[in-house]
Amino acid sequence: MVVDSAEINATVTRDLGLTYPILADPALATIDAYGLRHPGGHDGNDIARSASVLIDGEGVVRWSAVGDNFRLRPRPATILAVVDALPDVVRRPPR
C-alpha cells in the first residue's frame, strides 16, 4: 500500500516484475486507519511509513513491524517464522 496513484503503481509493478498488487491510497485514509502516516515524510508531503502488518483469516491483526529506520525492514525469513508460530493464522472453512 502506498500514496501513489494506481497508474504509477502499474509502472512500478511492471518495471520490478512484482507478483502482488500495490494498492493506491492517495488520500491516506487507510494509512491513517492503520496509524501509519508519516507527516512531511517526503519533500513536505505526508506519506506512509514503512511497515508490515500480518492479518489472520478472521481479519484480526496478529503481528506488525513498525520500525524507526526505513532502511531496516523485516526479512522474509522473519515473517515466515511469525506465520509458523501462529498456527491458527489460516482459518479453515467449516466442513
Binding site: V2, H38, P39, D43, V61, N69
Partner: protein, 142 residues
C-alpha cells in the same frame, strides 16, 4: 613503515582516508548489487564499519607519526577520514530515521479498506478472508 624515519613516507596517514572511503563505497556497491542476498550487511554494514574503524585508527597513527613538515597534511587527511565516517553514519542512521507511530493494534480487527490495484480493480480486506494476509506499507514516491 615508520613515517618519522628519514626519507620514510607516512603511509598510515594516506591509507586512513582511503580505507574509510573504501568501507563506505563498498557498502553501496554491496547493497545495490547484492542487497537481498546479504541482508546482514545491508542492515548493519558490519564489515564496512570494521574497515572504516581501521581507517580511522590508521589516520590517528598517521597524525601521531607525522614529521613537522607533514603534520598539516596528516591532519587534513585525518579530517577527511572523520568527515567520510560522519557522512556515512548520517546516511545510515539519521537520514532514514522515522518518528514514533502507533501503528495498528495487534489483536484488534484490521481496519477495512477498498483501494485500487494497478489494473484498476478494487481490492478489499474481505477478499483475503481465510488469510493470512501480509500488508506492506511503502513510502512511495518511487
Amino acid at each position: 613503515m615508520r613515517g618519522d624515519e628519514a626519507g620514510g613516507r607516512n603511509w598510515a596517514a594516506v591509507l586512513g582516508p582511503v580505507l574509510c572511503a573504501a568501507g563506505v563505497a563498498g557498502y553501496f556497491v554491496v547493497v545495490f548489487r547484492l542487497g537481498a542476498a546479504l541482508p546482514g550487511v545491508r542492515d548493519w554494514a558490519f564489515p564496512n564499519w570494521i574497515v572504516i574503524a581501521a581507517g580511522l585508527a590508521l589516520s590517528a597513527v598517521g597524525v601521531r607519526r607525522a614529521r613537522v613538515r607533514g603534520r598539516i597534511l596528516a591532519r587534513v587527511l585525518a579530517t577527511i577520514s572523520v568527515a567520510v565516517t560522519a557522512g556515512f553514519a548520517w546516511i545510515l542512521y539519521v537520514l532514514p530515521a522515522l518518528p514514533p507511530a502507533a501503528g495498528p493494534t495487534v489483536g484488534a480487527p484490521a481496519p477495512d479498506f477498498a483501494l485500487s490495484a494497478p489494473d484498476g480493480r478494487t481490492v478489499r480486506l474481505a477478499d483475503f478472508r481465510g488469510g493470512p494476509l501480509l500488508l506492506v506499507f511503502y513510502r512511495g514516491h518511487w
